[in-house]
Amino acid sequence: MIQLYHVHKRYTNGTDALVDVTLRVREGEFVFLTGPSGAGKSTLLRLLMVMERATDGQILIGGRNIHVLRDASIPFLRRNIGMVFQDFRLIPRRTVYENVAIALEIMGLGPKEIERRVTQLLDGLRMMHRAQAFPGDLSAGEQQRVAIARALVNEPAILLADEPTGNLDPELGHDILQLLIDVGRRGTTVLVATHDHGLVERYGMRTLVLGRGQLLEDRPRQLGARITAETGLNPLAVALTESRQHAPDAPVELDIPDEVVP
């Protein structure tokens, strides 16, 4: 699903954020991206979201070379990639419901379809009772749940999370990570950037270790890795299963038009 070949990113100030990174993440895989601050984790995620362009190398997402993607096609690529940030990035003037619905509004869906999908997802995340609250009225854990809901509501093929537990206490962090693992279990490719080694060790999932912009280690998923939730019992998993338009096991095709009128 995600392939990087000899990717290099140099900023205008001469800093090399990524150096000759080659990696591959399969469809439906859950991967931790770890390393100290400044290792290049966030840069890698920003390249995948085409918030920045690589200086050199090739990046393929769902088989599409995003290195040569036209600017007009970027929005359509992003509709296939959900992103969760450490600082949640919720719109303070909009309610929880509206914050989640925005990802569907941009696709021009009708109000009924938007209501169905948002309600289902908020229900699954146990956030429906706060649907009309504003982000400022929510706890950090609740805000991150809303951010995850927004990232998932249009059923992306890929979910990227940049330090999603960074602003949460360990208990809440565990809850959020469990949520992301559940998302992965439903067939979404999940890439979680974190500098929290303890967290990474605890789950034993495949881990890519970055250091000074280089890929230092690619640890495979450990046998008996902790996956606690059962698909059929977890409310989020149920919500995702019911809202999904395609079968979880079907190969994912990115919905990016070849020719886009800007």
Partner: protein, 300 residues
């Protein structure tokens, strides 16, 4: 795949943007209203002046006074020359006696008392009804030039034509038009500046929202549209105020012309379709100003 936003969503977001800075938005709408009212007023003045010119052109008369000594052939030659000219409706030839009779009818009996018949002025004259299209001062000038040429004809003594008053009227209309264009231009530019500033403020205050929208896959059009509609709504509000003001003013003026000045004006005092043009023009001005602001400050 759908790319665009739903109209109800765009309108709701535009309304929320307006509510974000209601005072500035109100000032923008009022400035647009003022500018459009002025444009409407000057358009009305031009329209009515045009009507007046047309009416005047239709009722213009020209008196070509001939020498007493002019022979019948010379009178016929001048008459044919006049009739051959475009825009001449009718030419009537009056003999000296007929002209004297006409003058007697025009003068008051008190003035005529004690005067003998020979003292009453009278000379051969050709009375010409002109049906001229007077759309500009150039048309009047052309008419004056032609009548001036008539003076050079040997049998013609004098030509009487009240063109100077027409020229004055045209000059006043032209001055009014220039003032109107300059004032309306200045006011429209101010209105656009206010809309430009309102939209710029809205863009700055929504930077976080714009960033999030682009991250979840919004197209540049989706992000920009509410800001453009915000400008257009300010223009629409201004146009609605201007249309109401001009409508009320029209009713007042019409009453004044009919009841106070006792004039029966056959045409409407407002140009046809002007209100419709204002309703289109207002949002167009708002849209243009917001497009400039969005183009400059909203980089997606």
């Amino acid at each position: 795949m759908k790319h665009g936003a739903r109209p109800d969503y765009v309108l709701r977001q535009a309304w929320l943007l307006l509510r974000g800075s209601p005072w500035l938005a109100g000032v923008s709408a009022l400035t647009i209203a003022l500018a459009l009212t002025l444009v409407g007023l000057f358009a009305s003045v031009m329209f009515n002046a045009g009507h007046l010119m047309h009416e005047l052109g239709q009722s213009l008369t020209l008196s070509v006074y001939l020498h007493d000594t002019a022979s019948a052939e010379e009178v016929t030659a001048v008459r044919q020359k006049l009739e051959a000219h475009a825009g001449i409706k009718k030419v009537r030839a009056l003999t000296r006696e007929q002209d004297r009779d006409r003058n007697k009818r025009l003068l008051s009996p008190e003035l005529l008392q004690g005067l003998d018949e020979a003292s009453i002025p009278g000379q051969p004259v050709l009375e010409v009804d002109i049906d001229a299209e007077l759309a500009s001062r150039g048309d009047v000038d052309a008419l004056v030039k032609w009548t001036g040429a008539l003076r050079g004809v040997q049998s013609v003594e004098d030509v009487e034509f009240g063109a100077e008053k027409l020229r004055l009227l045209f000059a006043m209309v032209e001055i009014a038009r220039t003032i109107g264009i300059v004032l309306s231009g200045v006011l429209l530019a101010s209105a656009m500046f206010f809309v430009f500033s309102t939209v710029r403020l809205a863009v700055f205050s929504r930077r976080d929202e714009i960033e999030i929208q682009t991250l979840v896959g919004a197209t540049p059009g989706f992000v920009r549209l509410p800001f453009l509609v915000e400008g257009a709504l300010q223009g629409l509000a201004g146009a609605a105020i201007a249309a109401t003001l001009l409508g009320l003013l029209h009713l007042e003026l019409r009453g004044l012309v009919r009841d106070v000045y006792m004039l029966n004006v056959s045409w409407s005092l407002l140009p046809p379709g002007m209100i419709a043009w204002l309703v289109i023009g207002g949002p167009a001005v708002g849209l243009a100003a917001s497009a400039l602001s969005v183009g400059r400050y909203l980089k997606v």
